[in-house]
């Protein structure tokens, strides 16, 4: 079943994710500088470098096993708001994917669990101008794609594209949660850094899946 996603996919996902947050480190921090404290790229680059190292050194052989390692490493290296939020997202995702391979429905379940984790910790609603605004449409798109019988790779692609649109759509919003909320109206016109990084991470997941099925 080459179409299913396994631990190798998860490893490749984290590898690509590490690449992208490292490459986009300055851009992400620049977004955060505008409406936050300018460290989001730095935080994620530090965290994913550590997570990737941990994954490479481990023998985890389930999707959930890899993601759990990522979760605990992010939790203990990122700090700030993004650390616990992404940490919890990966932890919840790991819980529902502790199997050797997942199909398209499994992808949706995984993303849904991640979003639930973020909301459980951060208490943000959709429209509050946070990473939730990338994850919400992503989960929705993944639900539709998997229900329509798309492959796991196509399901992730749909989720990633929806997340990118969701990140862009944070620009006109007034922030109500996180550091950007202190700016009130002045947060309008800037993209939320966490929504942007979420879109980048989901894109990495989709690219890893596409390679896998190629």
């Amino acid at each position: 079943m080459t179409a299913q996603l396994n631990a190798a996919w998860a490893r490749r996902f984290i590898d690509l994710a590490t690449d992208v947050v490292t490459t986009k480190r300055v851009d992400l921090s620049e977004l955060d500088r505008a409406i936050g404290d300018g460290d989001h790229g730095e935080n994620l680059a530090r965290g994913f470098a550590a997570a990737n190292r941990a994954v490479q050194e481990s023998e985890a052989d389930t999707v959930g096993g890899v993601l759990k390692l990522v979760a605990t490493t992010l939790m203990s290296t990122v700090g700030g708001a993004a650390g616990p939020l992404y940490g919890t997202a990966f932890l919840r995702a790991a819980k529902v994917s502790n199997v050797e391979a997942i199909d398209a429905v499994g992808v949706h379940t995984l993303l849904d669990a991640a979003l639930e984790g973020i909301v459980a910790r951060g208490k943000a609603n959709a429209g509050d101008k946070t990473m939730v605004d990338a994850w919400t449409p992503a989960v929705e798109a993944a639900g539709e794609a998997s229900a329509a019988g798309e492959s796991p790779a196509a399901t992730l692609r749909a989720a990633a594209d929806a997340a990118a649109r969701g990140a862009e759509a944070t620009e006109p919003l007034v922030a109500l949660k996180g550091r950007a909320s202190y700016l009130g109206e002045r947060s309008v016109g800037h993209r939320d850094p966490g929504a942007e990084s979420s879109a980048l991470l989901l894109d990495a997941a989709a690219r890893a899946a596409a390679e896998d099925s190629a």
Partner: protein
């Protein structure tokens, strides 16, 4: 960017190392950059732990010692620490009487301390938490992240620390900290931005004739940008919302804290203090205690904040109690 640092990656760890070496009579360094009171937890005493992003020195490590914090957890620059070192600090502070976490109200700090408290609880350490949110620059509502914790944090740490030192139990110490937080408000101004080492450029741009009112302590922009004004005018812009929000008035006693953001000369803080005090007195408010200096900073930012704490007799007593830390010391 001009800084007395080596590799930005090591700036925080080298600074903590230097701090601990310079104050080895007061503190010791544990895993994860945790700075703990020399000699370890005090038998029977409630432990007091605080922490948060670095770059606000002397907060928090400068307040570790007799009568104040048992341990401080410095995160990366302007970034909340992760749960692990918070757990290390919590264990170091616990002698069985439980530990109070003093947490500034930022999503990152709140979430990481929350996780640490759960982990500590799993190891049978009783943890209580007080969230400090004294910054009136930020609107407080159910639907937002709420007010930030800023300079008043030092007052919560001092007064709760004294309660713990005198032997109050965890519930009582928590109540004291909650009371202090409920009775104080702060507001700050930036004349210049600051530069986080790894960012390499200022956290926001400010024209030569502009100042940022309602600035936070992480180089995040403030409430509004106004033209540069005189010290007295700026002081009014800070003090008036503080007094109004706190609802303090005629016949009451307060502590007035004028806090420097790091790059402001002591003489300018004294000028702000002078006017703030006169303005409080003009309203019939007595300034019974004063603190003027760099306590909760934002690296080299130029600016100041004004904090007013409504004092009760018992708070005064606790504030006056001996303290022996690197940055606050009297009676010992």
């Amino acid at each position: 960017m001009k800084k007395l640092i080596n590799d930005p990656t090591n700036a925080t760890s080298e600074a903590v190392e230097g701090f601990v070496l310079a104050h080895s009579d007061l503190v010791t360094q544990l895993d994860g950059l945790v700075v703990a009171r020399a000699g370890g937890a005090v038998a029977g005493k409630v432990g007091i732990v605080s922490g948060g992003g670095s770059g606000h020195e002397p907060l928090h490590a400068g307040f570790v010692g007799v009568g104040m914090l048992d341990a401080a957890v410095p995160g990366a620059m302007f970034t909340s620490p992760t749960p692990d070192p918070i757990v290390v600090a919590t264990k170091a502070a616990d002698s069985g009487a439980g530990v109070l976490h003093i947490v500034k109200n930022y999503t990152g700090d709140v979430l990481n301390f929350e996780t640490a408290a759960e982990l500590a609880d799993a190891e049978d350490i009783e943890v209580a938490t007080v969230i400090v949110n004294d910054d009136v620059a930020v609107e407080d509502s159910l639907y937002t992240a709420g007010r930030r914790g800023v300079a008043g944090t030092v007052l919560v740490e001092k007064i709760a620390g004294a309660a713990a030192e005198r032997g109050d139990d965890l519930a009582a110490v928590t109540q004291v900290a909650t009371d202090v937080n409920a009775n104080m408000r702060s507001m700050g101004v930036a004349l210049t931005a600051c530069t986080v080492p790894h960012a390499g450029k200022p956290s926001f741009e400010l024209a030569d004739d502009e100042i940022e009112i309602g600035i936070g302590i992480h180089g995040e922009p403030g409430r509004r940008r106004v033209p540069l004004a005189s010290a007295d005018e700026i002081t009014d812009m800070l003090l008036d919302p503080v007094v109004e929000d706190l609802g303090v008035g005629e016949g009451e006693e307060v502590l007035l804290l004028v806090n420097g953001m790091g790059g402001t000369p002591a003489s300018e803080l004294a000028i702000v203090y002078r006017h703030a005090r006169a303005r409080l007195e003009a309203r019939g408010i007595t300034v019974a205690r004063s603190l003027v200096g760099n306590y909760v900073t934002s690296l080299e930012m130029q600016g100041a904040s004004v904090t007013v704490l409504r004092l009760s007799e018992s708070m005064k007593e606790l504030y006056d109690a001996p303290v022996k830390t690197a940055a606050l010391r009297w009676g010992l």
